[in-house]
C-alpha cells in the first residue's frame, strides 16, 4: 500500500459518498421502507470501503461496490431483526437482485431519489421534520450537524429523526411519485423543505433569518438533483434560480470588517456575475412553462434587484407588482414585510407603514424583519421616538451579532 493509493481511496470515498449517498439510500429503502436500516447498511459499506480500497485499490465502479456491500449488510441487519416472516419478501428481493446484477459493472441502477424526497416531505410527517429528514437521508448529514442549523439539541434532533423514520416504516407512507391532482401540493412541500435548508428570506431588511443558513450549499445541491429528476417542473427551476440569486450576493453581505450590509447598500460589483447569469437562464426557462408560482415570483423579485448592477437603480414599481402576484399565492410574514418595504420605496413611507399595519400584531411578536422595516419607515417620517422603540424590538429579536450591531448603529 502506498500513500498516493490511500489518499486516492479516501478522496474517492468522500466523493462517492457525497454524490451517491442519496441514490444508494433511496434504492436500498424503496422496497423495505426502512430508512434507518438502509442508512446503517450504507455506513457499514463506507467503513468497509475505508478498509479495503486503500489496500486493494479503488474498484472500477465504486458506487456498485458500495451497493453490493450495503446490500449484504442490509440482509444481515434484516435477519437480525428476527421478523422473519415479514422480512422474507425483502430478503428475497435483495438476494434475487444480488445474483442478477446488471448494474454491478455500471451505475445504471434505478434512481429512486425522487420517491425518497416525496417520502421525506409527506403530509403525514411533521412539516418541521421534512428538511432534517431530507438532509439526512438524501445527503447523509448527521443529526448533530442538522441540529446546529435548526437550533435543536443534537440528542432531540436524533430522537425526532428516529421517530419520523419509524413512522415511515410502519405508517404505510408510500414510496412513490405522486400523480395529479396531488402532485402540485406534494411537490410544493418538497420545495419548501429544500428552501428551508437554504435559509428563508435572509435578504429582507436586515432580516438575516438564521434557520439553516449554513446549509445553503446542501440545499442548492438538492434543488439541482430535483431539477434533473423533474426537468419540466417550472417551480423547481424557479427555486433553483431564487437560491442562485441569493447566493450570488453572499460576498456583498458583509464588509471587510464583518459588518452586515443590507441589500440596498451592497456594492453590485461584489455580486457573483456567473451565478446571476445562471439564475437568469433558469428563471427564463421556468417562465417558458407558463405556470407561474411562488418560487418563480420570488426569483423574479431578486432578478429585479440584481439589475441594479447594470442600471444603477432599482425598479421598485416592478418589485411591487411581483409582490402583489406573490401575495396571491403566499401570505408568509416575510412576503408581507418585503411587500411593505417595496411599497414604501415606490410610494413613500406612509404607504409602506399602512401595509405593515395590516399584518396581525400577534404574528410579528417574534419576527425581526417586521420591526426593522417599521423602524426604518418611522425614521424616514421623522417619528424619532417611535422609530427608536421599533429599533429596540428589532435589536431584541436579532440573532446574528452583525445584524444586531447594524441595527444598534441605525438606532443611534
Amino acid at each position: 500500500m502506498n500513500e498516493i493509493h490511500q489518499e486516492d481511496a479516501h478522496r474517492t470515498i468522500e466523493r462517492v459518498a457525497r454524490e451517491s449517498y442519496g441514490r444508494l439510500v433511496a434504492y436500498l429503502s424503496v422496497h423495505t421502507h426502512d430508512l434507518a436500516s438502509a442508512e446503517d447498511a450504507l455506513s457499514n459499506a463506507l467503513v468497509s470501503a475505508l478498509n479495503h480500497w486503500p489496500r486493494e485499490g479503488v474498484p472500477k465502479n465504486p458506487e456498485a461496490w458500495l451497493l453490493t456491500a450495503a446490500r449484504h449488510s442490509l440482509i444481515d441487519v434484516i435477519r437480525h431483526q428476527k421478523v422473519v416472516l415479514e422480512s422474507e419478501p425483502t430478503i428475497k428481493f435483495l438476494t434475487e437482485n444480488s445474483t442478477e446484477t446488471p448494474w454491478s459493472t455500471s451505475t445504471h441502477f434505478p434512481d429512486e431519489r425522487l420517491k425518497l424526497l416525496f417520502v421525506c416531505a409527506h403530509p403525514a410527517i411533521d412539516p418541521a421534520m421534512h428538511t432534517p429528514l431530507m438532509l439526512q437521508t438524501a445527503l447523509g448529514l448527521d443529526a448533530a450537524r442538522i441540529a446546529q442549523a435548526f437550533l435543536i439539541a443534537p440528542k432531540t434532533m436524533g430522537q425526532r429523526l428516529f421517530r419520523a423514520k419509524t413512522k415511515i416504516r410502519g405508517g404505510g407512507i408510500p414510496f412513490e411519485i405522486p400523480q395529479e391532482p396531488d402532485l402540485p401540493e406534494r411537490l410544493d412541500a418538497v420545495l419548501e423543505a429544500i428552501y428551508a435548508a437554504f435559509g428563508l428570506g435572509w435578504d429582507d431588511m436586515a432580516g438575516a433569518d438564521q434557520c439553516g443558513r449554513d446549509l445553503a450549499e446542501e440545499a442548492m445541491w438538492l434543488a439541482r438533483v430535483l431539477l434533473k429528476l423533474m426537468p419540466s417542473e417550472a417551480e423547481v427551476q424557479g427555486l433553483l434560480a431564487l437560491m442562485l440569486y441569493c447566493e450570488a450576493r453572499r460576498p456583498a453581505r458583509w464588509d471587510a470588517k464583518g459588518r452586515y450590509v443590507p441589500l440596498s447598500e451592497q456594492n453590485p460589483e461584489k455580486w457573483l456575475g456567473s451565478l446571476i447569469d445562471e439564475a437568469e437562464r433558469h428563471l427564463a426557462k421556468a417562465f417558458q412553462h407558463g405556470r407561474v408560482g411562488r418560487f418563480q415570483l420570488e426569483a423574479a423579485i431578486q432578478s429585479v434587484h440584481t439589475e441594479r448592477a447594470h442600471t444603477g437603480r432599482t425598479d421598485w414599481s416592478a418589485i411591487v407588482l411581483f409582490y402583489e402576484q406573490l401575495l396571491k399565492v403566499s401570505s408568509a410574514l416575510g412576503t408581507r414585510a418585503g411587500y411593505a418595504a417595496a411599497v414604501a420605496e415606490a410610494n413613500g413611507p406612509e404607504a409602506g407603514l399602512a401595509v405593515l399595519e395590516s399584518i396581525d400584531a400577534e404574528a410579528v411578536a417574534h419576527y425581526q424583519p417586521y420591526w426593522a422595516v417599521q423602524a426604518h419607515l418611522l425614521r424616514r417620517l421623522g417619528k424619532t421616538r417611535e422609530a427608536s422603540d421599533a429599533y429596540d424590538r428589532a435589536i431584541g429579536l436579532a440573532e446574528d451579532p452583525a445584524v444586531r450591531e447594524f441595527l444598534i448603529q441605525k438606532r443611534g
Binding site: L151, I152, A153, T156, Q210, A365, H366, D389, Y391, D392, R393, A394, I395, G396, L397, A398, E399, P401, R404, E405, L407, I408, R411
Partner: protein, 124 residues
C-alpha cells in the same frame, strides 16, 4: 412551562460591564428585554455582580470551608439569569439564540423543576 436562561460571560465581557454603562452592547440587552416583554414570555431576570465578589461556602465534616471567588473554576462565569414562560424547549432555544449573551459568551437553557418538586422544597 418555565425555563431558566443562564448567561455566562467571559472575563472580557465582565471587564466591559465594570467600566462602561453607556457601551452600545447595553442597547442590545435593552432591546432583548423589550422583545421578551412584548412577546409576553418574560417572568423575571437578575444580573449578578462580578465573579470576584463571590464567596463560596462548604461545610465538610462539620467544619466550615470558606473560599474567595465563585464555585466553579472556569473561564466563563455565571453573569445572570432570565426566567421565561414558554410552550416548549424549542422556543426557549430560539430566545437563547437571540440573547446578546449567546454571541459573546454562552447561554444555558434549563427547564425549571416541576411545581410538585418545588412544593416539596418549600413545604407549602
Amino acid at each position: 412551562m418555565q425555563f431558566a436562561l443562564m448567561i455566562y460571560h467571559t472575563p472580557e465581557e465582565f471587564e466591559m460591564r465594570k467600566n462602561d454603562y453607556s457601551h452600545p452592547h447595553l442597547g442590545a440587552w435593552r432591546g432583548y428585554y423589550k422583545a421578551l416583554v412584548e412577546a409576553k414570555v418574560y417572568v423575571s431576570a437578575n444580573a449578578l455582580e462580578l465573579p470576584e465578589t463571590g464567596t463560596t461556602v462548604r461545610v465538610k465534616d462539620g467544619k466550615r470551608r470558606v473560599q474567595d471567588g465563585p464555585y466553579a473554576d472556569t473561564k466563563e462565569q455565571l453573569a445572570g439569569f432570565i426566567i421565561l414562560e414558554l410552550p416548549s424547549v424549542d422556543a426557549a432555544l430560539e430566545w437563547a439564540a437571540r440573547c446578546p449573551g449567546a454571541s459573546i459568551g454562552a447561554v444555558e437553557v434549563r427547564p425549571l423543576a416541576p411545581e410538585a418538586m418545588q412544593r416539596g422544597f418549600t413545604g407549602e
